[in-house]
Amino acid sequence: MSEGLTLEIVTPEKMAFSGTVEEVTIPGTEGEFGVLRGHEAFLTSVDIGELNFTKDGRKTYFAVNTGYAEVTANKVTILIETAENSNSIDKDRARRAKENAEARLAQVAKDTSEYERARLALLRAVIRISVAEK
C-alpha cells in the first residue's frame, strides 16, 4: 500500500474498524490530535472522548473509552475498552445515563472514588450524546 494510512480500532469484543483512511483524530490525554500518513512514531494514552476519521472524504465518528494509541508512519493502532459508532448509540439510554450521573454527583461528596466514577460516567454519557448527533 503506497498511499493512505492504515487504521485499526481494537476493542475486547471485536475489531471495531480496520481499513485505510486519510486522516484520524484521536482524543489523547494531552489533548485532541490528528494523524496523517508519515507521522512520527509514538505511543500515547487515549481518554474518554470523540474519535473520528476520514475515509474517502466521509467522516465517521466513534465515542471511545480509555486506552492507548500506537502511531507509526503508515499505521495507527488504537486499543480501547469500548468504542461505539455514532449510528449505534442509543441516545435515550445515553441521556438517562447522563441524568443518573448528574444526580449522583449532586449527592456524593467530592474527592471520593464514587464521585470520580460518577464524573467519568457523566463524561462518557455526554460524549455519547454528542457523537450520536454527528
Partner: protein, 291 residues
C-alpha cells in the same frame, strides 16, 4: 408390580423430561459457540495490549504503582467466579470445593479473608459460610468489558487505600468443551511485568512516549486488571455452557435408558393383565359349563 397405569404415567413423565434436557443441551450448545467466538475475538486485543505493556515495562527502570505494593499478607480477599445457574455438572461444585479448601487453609494460618462473589451459585453457597464483601449475581448471561471494569473497581480502590493486602481470583479455567479446571491466581500485588517476557529488543519500536513512559504505565496497569478479569469471565461463560452441554447430554441418555427399562416393564404388566383377564374369562366359562 406397579399397576399398568402407574408405569404409563412414569414413562410419559420421563419422556417430557427428556424433551427438556434435549432442549437445554441445544441451547447450551449455541451459547457455548457464542462464548467461544467471544474468546477468539478477545485474543487480538489481549495480545496487542500485553505486547505494549511488556515493552513499556522494559523501558521503565523502576515501576512504582500502588498495585504493585507488597505488604505482609494478613488480610486477604478472593474473587470467586461461578455461574448463575446450575444443571452444569460439576462446574460449580468443584470450584466451590477448591474455594473452601483455600478459605480453610488461610483461616488456619490466622489470616482474615473475605469473599467477592461473581455468580449466583457461589454467593448462595457462601452466604452463611464466609464473609461476602461484594457480590455480582445474574450478570453472566449478558456482559461485556464494562462488567470487568466494575469488578476491577470493586477491588482496585480498596487495595490502593490499603484496606487489604492480597487479592486472589478463583475461576474455572477453560481447557476444552468438556474440561474446566478450578484455577487460583493471585491478582494483587501485580506481578512484575515485562521482566521475564521474551521480547526481542531489536523488534521493539522506538516510540516517543506521551506524556511519558511512567505515566502511560500508570494508565495501562488498571487496564491490565480489566484484561485479566474479562478473560476469566469469558472462560467462565464458555466453561459453564460446555459443562451444561455435557450434563444435559448425559441426562438425555439416562432418560432414554429409563424409558427403555420402563417400556419393558410396561409390556410385561400389560401382558400379565391380559393373561389375568383371559384366566378370568376361561375360569368363568368353565364354572358356567360345570354348573
Amino acid at each position: 408390580m406397579a399397576s399398568l397405569k402407574d408405569i404409563k404415567r412414569k414413562v410419559s413423565a420421563v419422556q417430557k423430561t427428556k424433551q427438556i434436557t434435549r432442549a437445554m443441551n441445544m441451547v447450551a450448545a449455541s451459547k457455548f459457540k457464542a462464548a467461544q467466538s467471544r474468546m477468539e475475538n478477545f485474543r487480538p486485543y489481549a495480545s496487542k495490549f500485553m505486547d505494549v505493556l511488556n515493552s513499556l515495562a522494559l523501558r521503565v527502570e523502576s515501576i512504582s504503582h500502588p498495585l504493585l505494593a507488597v505488604r505482609e499478607p494478613k488480610r486477604l480477599r478472593i474473587i470467586c467466579m461461578t455461574s448463575d445457574r446450575g444443571l452444569c455438572g460439576g462446574f460449580n461444585t468443584n470450584l466451590i470445593k477448591a474455594t473452601e479448601r483455600f478459605l480453610k487453609e488461610k483461616t488456619k494460618e490466622d489470616k482474615e479473608i473475605s469473599l467477592i462473589s461473581v455468580g449466583r451459585k457461589g454467593r448462595d453457597y457462601f452466604r452463611k459460610k464466609a464473609k461476602i464483601i461484594a457480590q455480582r449475581v445474574d450478570v453472566l448471561s449478558k456482559f461485556d468489558m464494562t462488567l470487568a471494569v466494575a469488578v476491577s473497581d470493586d477491588v482496585i480502590t480498596p487495595f490502593i487505600k490499603e484496606e487489604y493486602d492480597e487479592l486472589y481470583l478463583i475461576y474455572n479455567q477453560f481447557v476444552n468443551v468438556s474440561v474446566q479446571k478450578p484455577t487460583l491466581v493471585r491478582l494483587f500485588p501485580l506481578p512484575s511485568i515485562g521482566q521475564d517476557a521474551d521480547i526481542d529488543p531489536d523488534t521493539r519500536l522506538d516510540y516517543a512516549y506521551e506524556p511519558s513512559e511512567e505515566a502511560l504505565l500508570q494508565k495501562l496497569l488498571p487496564m491490565y486488571v480489566h484484561v485479566l478479569i474479562y478473560r476469566a469471565l469469558l472462560e467462565t461463560s464458555a466453561g459453564e455452557n460446555g459443562a451444561r452441554m455435557a450434563a444435559m447430554d448425559n441426562a438425555t441418555s439416562n432418560c432414554e435408558d429409563l424409558i427403555r427399562t420402563l417400556t419393558l416393564k410396561m409390556n410385561k404388566a400389560r401382558q400379565a393383565a391380559i393373561t389375568a383377564e383371559l384366566m378370568d374369562i376361561v375360569g368363568g366359562t368353565e364354572a358356567l359349563a360345570k354348573g
